[in-house]
Amino acid sequence: MHDMSRPEIRAARPDPGPAEGEAQDLAFLLAQVARGDHQAFEAVYGQLAGPVYGVVRQVLRDPAQSEEVAQEVLLEVWRSASRFDPARGSGVAWVLTMAHRRAVDRVRSENAGSRREQKVASETVTEYDDVADIVETSLEGQRARRCLDSLTDLQGESIKLAYYGGYSYPEVAQLLGVALGTVKTRIRDGLIRMRDCMGVMA
């Protein structure tokens, strides 16, 4: 039953992370940036400005505001590169988490009022599928879209509204007319399914 001589200690799966080679370069570049290397920062900018700007604008919609937030985020990458910890995830995830969160925080701080609620009421989910001038993307981006399409409707819509729409899960629940618990579960299940679809490991 068991191979008597083989150690049974559980080995961790190696973590290929996101785009493997690229991610490693990025981790290396970020370490250079942390030491004040402007050239390395230009390279980081080249890799990430598109996704950063794209995701921020996806959430904020307004181009001028998006540009402002993207600039803040990219400058923050310069400023806090020394705090990037490759043990906790890829550089891509570090930067894009920061970008998304900033955009969302901006939306939420501005939308204590009613403007957003009206928007919530009129918004349709499909809007997130046809934003103009998306850069024709990496294979990775295409794959992500395919994987997103493979989810159930409720999973996919919950994720798009939460991530691209920048809505909190209670807002998503309200928009979709489903229970809070259902949304929480669909978001998690859907993301797990996407993760597996894309072969992300962590």
């Binding site: 068991h2 150690p7 049974e8 402007h38 891509v92 993307t137």
Partner: protein, 299 residues
């Protein structure tokens, strides 16, 4: 709480829930692992929406970098401290398992002991939280306070855990891969310690040092922890085995110099024994010496 990993990764929690979840996350290695994977996934959602930034953005950002002072790195031992915190939380759990033992059960005697942690789970959880909070605050005198009800070994485990977190073992972890395996193993170990049927067995080794085994029969896994085993020459190592009537199966090697050792044994069942032998460095395919410690596995 766990179901919030997805919403957290998508920034779909409000500020209060986010803060609560982050507190929970600090002491939930399996949530950390899941959040990490889901964050990577969310990053792909961003990549799928990459857009051409306005042309002037680049110049503006690059120019700003020349006017912007960078943050200094966090203290050098940060990675170790993070791992150490996981370990502290885990050892607090271990100590809590001991805390459920009858007071008469003295750990230093040479036969195995067990206790059942199922008693009083709720107050256990409270004390776990207290312990966790304490480990957050630092490693002061709090360790010896009342949440540890069984004095000696518990105190020792706790004290040793502080030593472990500060120094040994963790310092060896350096590359990302090692960190990843450490985290994955850490999560697996936490799962055993958290299992509803976790039972603890403790014994002391013949040449000194203590061996603790936490077994989950449901998961068929055991966490083997050693503390204060005598150092060996560089040509010898401690090897841990799962011994059954059909033979001995290696679990892995313990560093011959670390004060604290920890291994996860899989495929363990009632009736097996966990044994530790001294072997030539590199380990053996079967035990070649008399075990310095054996701990029976009972479910």
């Amino acid at each position: 709480m766990h179901v919030l990993t997805g919403s957290y990764a998508l920034d779909a929690l409000d500020a209060q829930e986010r803060a609560e979840f982050e507190r929970h996350l600090q002491h939930c290695p399996s949530c950390q692992a899941e959040v990490r994977g889901l964050r990577e996934t969310a990053a792909r959602l961003a990549i799928a929406r990459a857009a051409q930034p306005p042309a002037q953005l680049e110049q503006r950002v690059l120019a700003a970098t020349y006017r912007t002072r960078q943050l200094p790195p966090l203290p050098a031992d940060r990675l170790r401290r993070d791992l150490g915190q996981t370990r502290l939380a885990r050892l607090a759990r271990l100590a809590r398992l001991f805390a459920g033992r009858p007071a008469a059960d003295q750990p230093d005697s040479s036969h195995g002991h067990r206790s059942d942690r199922r008693s009083d789970r709720r107050s256990d959880r409270r004390s776990d939280r207290r312990a966790a909070r304490r480990s957050d605050r630092g490693r002061g005198s709090g360790w010896s306070n009342n949440w540890l009800r069984s004095p000696r070994l518990v105190g020792a485990v706790a004290a040793a855990s502080v030593a472990a977190a500060v120094g040994l073992g963790i310092t060896q972890v350096s590359t990302q891969h090692q960190l990843d395996s450490a985290q994955a193993t850490s999560a697996a170990i936490a799962k055993v310690l958290d299992a509803p049927d976790a039972r603890i067995e403790a014994t002391s080794a013949t040449a000194g040092g203590a061996v603790t085994v936490v077994v989950s029969a449901l998961q068929r896994e055991a966490v083997v922890t050693t503390r204060g085993m005598p150092s060996l020459s560089s040509s010898r190592v401690y090897q841990v085995w799962v011994m059954s009537s059909s033979g001995a199966r290696s679990v892995g090697l313990l560093s011959s110099t670390a004060h604290i050792g920890e291994l996860l044994a899989s495929g363990v069942q009632s009736g097996d024994q966990i044994g530790i032998t001294v072997e030539p460095s590199g380990g053996s395919s079967r035990p070649t010496t008399t075990p310095v410690a054996t701990v029976p596995v009972t479910a």
